[in-house]
């Protein structure tokens, strides 16, 4: 197997154009497991670890954050936890400290597993994925359009993920994930919520409960229409939100959980996270928990 080690982004794009079947590797926390289990035998590995810019993030002029595909979870939590609380909470649930030191959102997007933890937070927070090829340059893909199917994304064979863009949270955000163990567990299902009080809008997304991570659109639209932003949360609104979030799911029975349980749990998480976010909003908080 060939092992390619480009030193710059341009070299990386050129290498990928030359050898589209080369598999990029960043943290390797997904790729190495797949190699060990003999799921893939790529013709070549394209190691992105020498491309320094992938591990940087910047605050852009338009107020958004542009975060390199290779920024590991541990740094996301430490450096951006205040501005991207939903994503940081999701990052905090990924694997173990070792995995969070190596694993990246870029890798999560590359793998595009429906159970990847960053996805619901990216969806609820309106992230845009910046991908690039040597031949056609940059494409900006809203997270919503990025996932195509189980472990499939819109990336073309000559493209690499360069960064993702997100606005700093304008309101409370929460991420919640059910697993059958209290740490280091793949999501049985997950849920993310982001309040955008300025726009009187709520982002909501589900993970591990459909072939792809997906927005709970009907639930979002319901809140956009029905939520009274100046009043306490009405139980009927909360209940309906839970039902619509559940309806967004099309889960399966698998070894991690049953479809019925996943639907049920999505409803519980939707109601709980909306309640927390609402309480925070009313109390003027953004996030509270230790852990």
């Amino acid at each position: 197997m060939e092992f390619l080690r480009p030193a710059t982004w341009a070299e990386a794009l050129a290498a990928k154009a030359d050898l589209p079947e080369a598999a990029p590797i960043q943290g390797g926390t997904d790729m190495m497991v797949e190699l060990n289990f003999d799921v893939h035998r790529p013709a070549a590995l394209l190691d992105l670890n020498r491309v320094a810019e992938l591990t940087r993030w910047t605050a852009e002029a338009d107020g958004r954050l542009r975060i390199g595909a290779g920024v590991p979870y541990a740094r996301l939590i430490a450096e951006l936890g205040d501005r991207l609380p939903g994503l940081a909470q999701a990052a905090r649930t990924v694997g173990s400290p070792q995995i969070r030191n190596r694993g990246t959102v870029g890798g999560n997007l590359g793998a595009a597993s429906p159970a990847g933890d960053s996805h619901p937070a990216l969806l609820a927070g309106d992230a845009v994925i910046e991908v690039e090829s040597a031949a056609r340059g940059v494409r900006m893909i809203p997270a919503d359009e990025f996932y195509l199917g189980v472990k499939r994304n819109t990336l073309l064979p000559d493209e690499l993920i360069r960064a993702f863009w997100m606005s700093p949270a304008s309101g409370p955000q929460y991420f919640s994930k059910v697993g059958t163990r209290n740490a280091m567990v793949i999501a049985v299902c997950s849920f993310a919520i982001a309040l955008h009080p300025g726009e009187r809008r709520v982002g909501a997304a589900i993970g591990s409960a459909a072939p792809t991570p997906r927005r709970a659109r009907a639930a979002e639209e319901f809140l956009a229409a029905e939520l009274d932003w100046d009043a306490p949360l009405e139980p009927a609104v909360l209940r309906r939100f839970g039902e619509l979030a559940t309806e967004a799911a099309s889960p399966i029975d698998d070894v991690r959980g049953t479809a019925g349980y996943r639907r049920h749990a999505i409803g519980v998480m939707a109601r709980r996270t909306l309640t927390w976010a609402w309480n925070d909003l009313r109390a003027g908080r953004t996030e509270r928990r230790a852990g």
């Binding site: 905090r92 649930t93 919640s176 059958t180 209290n182 740490a183 070894v255």
Partner: protein
């Protein structure tokens, strides 16, 4: 003997000091923490080849043909072997039923059964060559219904001798008559899922062909001599042609009692004339060892209104999978301990071990007793409910004690303060309520499923009674050779046994015993190999008792030799002399001199066998017999927080009260109780090999979940020391009992929090929420 490979075990000097009762340091401790310990997967020798195993994808199929030609032609491949190449007997088996093929022929009986072997100069080459072996199968519908296997004569046979490996009844009194008199009747059906040992060090080892036509085997096992008894005949080699050395064992828990790669690596080495290493990967490891028997259990108890049990009617079916492995002993334990440490005047127990095309099951920590304990402790809680008693009282009312009889009629000869232990557990302070400000304290942890909503607390109790050492008339013994001589001016005791250090701390204990018995400070532990006699298995919580006993008696024999020298040299009576701190001491005259001076050039070496008191078999009709060598009791109190809306559980505290007879090394002992409790926690709430139609659906640590540090709570331990008069130092084996009682205690606590019946372990979230 040929050159030893790199990373092979060597003599190890036991660090520090400390005799029996001290928390002496582990010789392997620092190495393991630093990642420097040499496990069997680290073995290396120049020029070695890599072996790989082709396994059946089908749980049940006829093998119509095997074509290895393309694989043999693959560059880098040295040989490809099938059943035709097995030099000797074509079957082996851990427990004298030799029904497991070295390599399958005619038929495969479980998914993952080995069919062919490849040796190549690179592991990846070997793996790719496996794909070129062509096998024609006639795939058959797997036989996976354990109940039909037990009772339906029309059910097709997995093994030609029938589908029941063992049926063991136990009969006491008259259950039917007692049923008429019972004022309260409770019943239940319970299930235990298939648990895995989940050791971290995969099956691995190295076989080096020797000039005498034999083979040197470096392997990680639990019982070298039992391996040898099977390996020799299958290779067609006399036992003295096979030199076995225990290499670093990365955990065992029963999963290394059966052979895995031993014969395979030796066959490849003998065929190619080259050293051959085999290392399973994690996926293969799930097919490379046996698991805990899943169980289906039906219980009915009758009692008086005040909670006194008058009869028990019990049926236990244990699914042993395709081959016998340890099933017969598992059935023996389940039958003899089916109602646990409770005095019940009328008993009808039927325990069955059956063959199916499910994955083979065999030894795992607490075997047989673990399954039964979940059922009988669940029954005690049902009885408590039915009689309006609290769970501790109902257990105390029926508790066995010294002098009571087990269901088998065996009289408990040593202290068994069960009622008092329960009282102690009940009176321990309760943990504080959950801190809802810290996610790590709540069910779901940092996955943030609750900030306190839906969380309910529950408390439950469990009591487990485990037989220690081998039971049912087996002549159980261990051998130790101890040599005392002066090295570098200091007396050094060399301890040599074939007993497997599997992480439990046996080598630490051997050094402690040598220091106590010989009064010397320096002890060297030699690698375990078959140049010394059989030590028996590192299982059944028996090595402190058996190999501890053997080291103790060998040391005592060496001490006698030393005392004879000292009596002659100093003119004191032998019973006036003792040895301590490297010195010869007289009770009347104080220090007489050093052991080093006394010994000079003399070498004292003694080998001793240690046997425990003989046991008897169980009567095949009534189950009666003095079948157990020792019994050990553990009581757990579990406190849990359950998110009842999501079905997630946080075990808040596990408190244990265990009687160990004598604390030999507190740190090591606590480690055993913590570990056993954690494994029981795993069975209670997450650990299961999910099998569907004979196929394993989760052969990885991604989906076979074991507890992490955020799942395992701090433990409060109360350790009692009521000596067993028959055992060395009065000790009781301590490796297993906590594995039994923690599972039912946790499930009882979840029931207490939720009000649900929960009759199956592991309890899954959907069992709690009811949303299947």
């Amino acid at each position: 003997m040929s050159v030893a490979p790199a990373r092979a075990p060597r003599d190890i000097a036991a660090p520090g000091g400390g005799g029996v009762g001290d928390s002496a340091l582990r010789p392997d401790g620092v190495l393991k923490v630093r990642g420097e310990f040499a496990y069997s997967s680290d073995l290396w020798i120049d020029g070695m080849l890599w072996g790989a195993t082709l396994r059946s994808p089908h749980p049940r199929a006829k093998i119509l043909s095997i074509d290895t030609s393309e694989a043999l032609a693959h560059p880098g491949v040295w040989t490809v072997l099938t059943h035709e190449d097995v030099p000797g007997r074509k079957h082996f088996g851990v427990d004298h039923t030799w029904d497991q093929p070295v390599l399958a022929f005619d038929e495969v009986r479980h998914q993952g059964e080995p069919i062919a072997l490849v040796a190549a100069d690179h592991p990846e080459t070997a793996r790719r060559a496996l794909e070129k072996i062509r096998i024609e199968y006639e795939v058959l519908e797997p036989l996976t219904d354990a109940r039909r296997a037990a009772f339906d004569p029309a059910y097709p046979r997995v093994q030609p001798r029938g589908n029941v490996a063992r049926h063991q009844p136990v009969r006491v009194g008259d259950v039917d008559a007692a049923r008429e008199l019972a004022e309260v009747v409770v019943s239940g059906e319970f299930q235990v899922g298939m648990q895995d040992q989940a050791f971290l060090g995969p099956e691995s080892g190295l076989a080096i062909p020797a000039e005498d036509g034999g083979v040197d085997l470096y392997v990680a096992t639990q019982w070298m001599h039992n391996d040898l008894e099977q390996i020799g005949p299958c290779l067609g080699l006399a036992e003295d042609k096979i030199r076995m050395t225990l290499s670093g064992v990365g955990g065992a828990f029963g999963g290394r009692e059966d052979l895995s790669m031993q014969i395979h690596a030796a066959m490849l080495a003998l065929r190619t004339g080259k050293p051959v290493k085999i290392v399973y990967n994690r996926y293969e490891s799930f097919f490379g060892h046996v698991h805990r028997h899943p169980a289906q259990m039906r219980y009915e108890y009758g009692a008086t209104k005040d909670g006194r049990i008058v009869y028990a009617d019990v049926e236990i079916i244990l699914d042993g999978g395709a081959y016998t492995s340890s099933t017969k002993n598992v059935v023996g334990n389940a039958a003899s301990l089916a109602v646990g440490p409770y005095v019940i005047p009328n008993v009808r127990i039927d325990a069955y071990g059956v063959y199916t095309n499910n994955p083979p099951c065999g030894a795992m920590r607490g075997f047989g007793a673990v399954q039964a304990c979940f059922a009988f402790e669940s029954m005690m809680d049902r009885l408590a409910d039915a009689c309006g008693l609290d769970p501790v009282t109902v257990r105390q009312v029926n508790a066995a004690a010294e002098g009571s009889a087990l269901a088998t009629g065996q009289i408990i000869w040593a202290p068994l303060p069960m009622a008092e232990m329960l009282q102690t557990a009940r009176e321990l302070p309760m943990p504080a309520p959950a801190d809802t400000g810290d996610l790590r304290d709540l069910p779901g942890g940092v996955s943030q499923t609750t900030h306190g909503e839906g969380v309910r607390r529950g408390v439950g109790y469990g009591v487990g009674l485990k037989n220690i050492c081998f039971s049912e008339g087996y002549d159980d013994y261990s051998t130790a050779r101890v040599r005392l001589e002066v090295i570098g001016g200091e007396p050094v005791a060399m301890v040599h046994t074939a007993a497997a250090e599997v992480g439990q701390g046996l080598v630490t204990l051997e050094a402690q015993i040598a220091r106590t018995e010989l009064g010397v400070r320096r002890v060297v532990i030699q690698p375990a190999d078959n140049r010394v006699g059989d030590a028996g298995s590192s299982s059944a919580s028996r090595q402190s008792y058996m190999t501890g006993g053997a080291v103790m008696t060998a040391c005592q024999a060496v001490r006698e030799g030393m005392a004879a020298l000292a009596a002659a040299r100093f003119g004191h009576a032998r019973d006036d002399l003792s040895f301590t701190g490297d010195k010869v001491v007289s009770e009347s005259a104080g220090v007489l001199g050093t052991i080093a001076e006394l010994l000079g050039d003399a070498v004292i070496e003694e080998t001793r066998e240690y046997h425990h008191r003989p046991t008897t078999g169980m009567d095949p009709v009534t189950g009666r017999g003095d079948s157990h060598a020792q019994l050990a009791l553990c009581v757990h109190r579990a406190v849990v927080d359950v998110d009842v809306d999501l079905g997630l559980v946080k075990v808040v505290e596990l408190a244990a009260v265990q009687d160990v007879g004598r604390i030999l090394n507190r740190v090591a002992l606590e480690g055993q109780i913590h570990g056993g409790s954690a494994q029981g926690l795993g069975l209670a709430v997450m650990e299961e090999i999910v099998v569907e139609n004979g196929r394993v659906r989760n052969p990885s640590f991604t989906d076979y979940l074991i507890p992490t540090i955020l799942d395992m709570p701090p433990m409060r331990l109360e350790i009692l020391e009521n000596a067993d008069p028959r055992a060395p130092y009065g000790l009781r084996g301590a490796g297993e009992p906590s594995t039994l009682s923690s599972t039912p205690a946790i499930v009882a606590a979840i029931r207490d929090a939720t009000g649900l019946a929960l009759t199956r372990v592991p309890v899954r979230p959907e069992h709690i929420t009811g949303s299947s």
